[in-house]
Amino acid sequence: MLEIIDLHASINGKEILKGINLTVREGEVHALMGQNGAGKSTLSNVIVGHPSYEVTQGKILFNGKDLLELKPEDRAHEGIFLSFQQPVEIPGVSMVNFMRAALNAKRKYQGLEPLSAGDFLKLMREKRRIVELDNKLANRSVNEGFSGGEKKRNEIFQMAMLEPTLSILDETDSGLDVDALRIVAEGFNKLRTPQTSAIVITHYQRLLDYLKPDVVHVLLAGRIVKTAGPELAFEIEKRGFDWIKEEQ
């Protein structure tokens, strides 16, 4: 599904990713761990096409398509979704208008008619339940005045609406209390199918307890230096990253 080959990327002339190789197959959940500044968020931003990052070498294929050729919105239409580490507040743009614009743009890309207002609101109601998102929030401006937990729940709600095939969760567990974490993780699990995949960036085992990754990678200074099964995450939780560094 996703194939990253020798990816180098920089921001403001500073190279952050120094040759990433990563393959994610259908139905797999990959955890991406590593210390702050290792390049985890950079990698997710490059996959979704953030304009601040420059890819200097390598390629990314998504279902065989050259992702780097596509605009961010078209990558989204192809089925890639990023749950932001810091969801952006957009005062004045209601969640309803925001979601309708996003969903109908995707339908247009797929050659489908826009959803009727009635069907759209029905869908909103249905998907809201997955993350127990209040109706009040759905009627407010995008993320404006949402608590940290509400913002993250809102990310998963949007994921539910857009039904991506590859989701990237960038520290979706940061700033969440245990109950909120459970709601978000269970919401995510409800959306999983044998055809959907995910890359989960996290510092903690707790989220992985829920999401049960198939593969765990450790990123260090812009390279993936270790790849193993879920047991690697337990070891990191116990021992930190220093022993991996020493192995290098």
């Binding site: 605009k71 989204a76 952006v88 507040e89 743009v93 614009a101 996003a102």
Partner: protein, 447 residues
């Protein structure tokens, strides 16, 4: 020849013609206006309140004037439908500077309420006109006042007698109509006597693809305990130049809403000068400007707190794109003795392109010591983080930009009290951002 001289020469040549086709009450002010204009000349950018608009350049071209009052064979009720329709059956037209009275709306106004041409009002209500005309818009203090007073031959008169309430919104549509480049000098007098109430929506349109220059000088008197809502909406085109000076005098415990929306224009300067003359008066001013291409919109406001216990609330928002230029200079003057003044001025601006320019100048001058005043102004760009967030969700960049611009002016649109206008404006603004709002859409004349 400098810009002024052509108007002075014109006046000397056509003085008889101007006066013959105008009311003696208006003619009585012309000589003084001429002398003031000769003395002042067009304000240069050194004049503080004109520093953002090049007046001489706007007046330099050679425009035709209809000083002989040649009839315009158009029935606006048949050919024109405003973008704010179904608002009211009290619909009136002013063709260039001519109040159209060959067909009038069926709605009957409360007895004593007058909406007519200013010329006719000079004959029928000389006491009111004499008492008000030229009293606020002094020729001696402003060259545009002087020029307009020199040349204006007619205009609009709205009068609401003491205690009367006009329920229905009065809608006035100013139409610019000409086969040649045309200058129009329009004069407006609005008088609400003590306790009177009225709601007026004035829409500016241009029917022809000509260069137009319209000067408009308005004098608005709001009596004690009176309530006025005056909404102005400009929806002309890139060849239209609007120079508007509006003076509003508010007596004790009166309230006024003075909203101004520029949706489509060429070059516009709106001066709004509000004098809170009586204790307890309260004014609300909302402004919204949407400009792109090389459009120019300069709103210059003065709120003069001359009495205690008055309130003023001002909110202006601009969205500028392409190479548009916006200016907002809002001066609040709290005079000595104007204690317990409450004044809040907010101006926020969005430059959606690198080449758009905004000049923002909030000014607060306070000479009293027991007041509550605030003012603030911001100029920003579209948020990159928000844009990217939306694009990641699949919203195309153009659509994301549109949603952000629309959201930015949402606050000021929501604060428009006239519901039918507010709803309509939400729709018009969205269309405007989509580039679907073209001139003359519903007009049969230029098809």
């Amino acid at each position: 020849m400098n810009s002024e001289q052509q108007y002075i020469d014109l006046y000397h040549q056509a003085n008889d013609l101007i006066c013959r086709h105008s009311a003696p009450l208006m003619n009585a002010h012309r000589q003084e206006a001429l002398e003031a204009f000769q003395r002042l000349g067009f304000p240069s950018k050194q004049v503080e309140r004109y520093k953002y608009t090049d007046v001489a350049q706007i007046f330099a071209p050679d425009y035709g004037l209809n000083l002989g009052r040649i009839d315009i064979p158009v029935n606006p009720y048949e050919v024109f439908r405003c973008d704010v329709p179904n608002l009211s059956t009290s619909l009136y037209f002013v063709l260039n500077d001519l109040f159209y009275d060959k067909a009038l709306p069926k709605a009957t106004l409360p007895e004593g309420v007058i909406i007519s041409s200013l010329g006719k009002a000079c004959e029928e209500f000389p006491d009111v006109v004499k008492r008000c005309y030229g009293q606020l818009a002094r020729s001696g203090k402003d060259a545009i006042n002087a020029l307009n007073t020199m040349l204006a031959q007619d205009g609009l008169f709205i009068y609401v007698p003491r205690g009367l309430v006009v329920d229905r919104t009065i809608q006035v549509i100013n139409i610019l109509r000409s086969d040649v480049d045309l200058m129009v000098n329009r004069r407006v007098l609005i008088v609400l006597e003590e306790g009177a109430q009225a709601r007026i929506l004035v829409c500016d349109h241009a029917l022809d693809d000509r260069n137009f220059l319209a000067t408009q000088v308005s004098e608005v008197f709001v009596g004690e305990n009176a309530h006025l809502e005056l909404y102005e909406l400009e929806e002309t085109h890139v060849k239209c130049h609007r120079m508007s000076n509006m003076y509003v005098q508010m007596q004790a415990n009166s309230t006024a809403v003075l909203d101004n929306i520029t949706l489509q224009n060429g070059q516009t300067r709106n001066r709004t000068d509000v004098q809170l003359a009586g204790e307890g008066a309260e004014v609300h001013m909302n402004g919204c400007v949407i400009a792109d291409q090389k459009q120019h919109v300069d709103n210059n406001t003065l709120i003069d707190h001359a009495a205690p216990h008055c309130q003023s609330h001002e909110l202006y928002k601009y969205v500028l794109d392409d190479e548009a230029v916006g200016a907002f200079a809002g001066r609040i003057l709290v005079r000595e003795g104007a204690q317990h003044t409450v004044s809040k001025e907010t101006n926020a601006n969005l430059c959606a392109s690198r080449t758009a320019r905004m000049y923002a100048q909030p000014m607060l001058e306070i000479y009293a010591d027991d007041v509550k005043c605030s003012h603030g102004s911001t100029v920003g760009q579209l948020g990159d983080a928000a844009l990217f967030y939306m694009r990641q969700r699949g919203i195309p960049e153009d659509e994301a930009r549109l949603l952000l611009k629309y959201a930015f002016v949402g606050e000021v649109l929501d604060s428009i009290r006239l519901e039918s206008l507010r709803d309509r404006l939400h729709h018009l603004v969205e269309k405007r951002f989509r580039g679907e709002l073209s001139k003359c859409k519903d007009c049969k004349l230029c098809k």
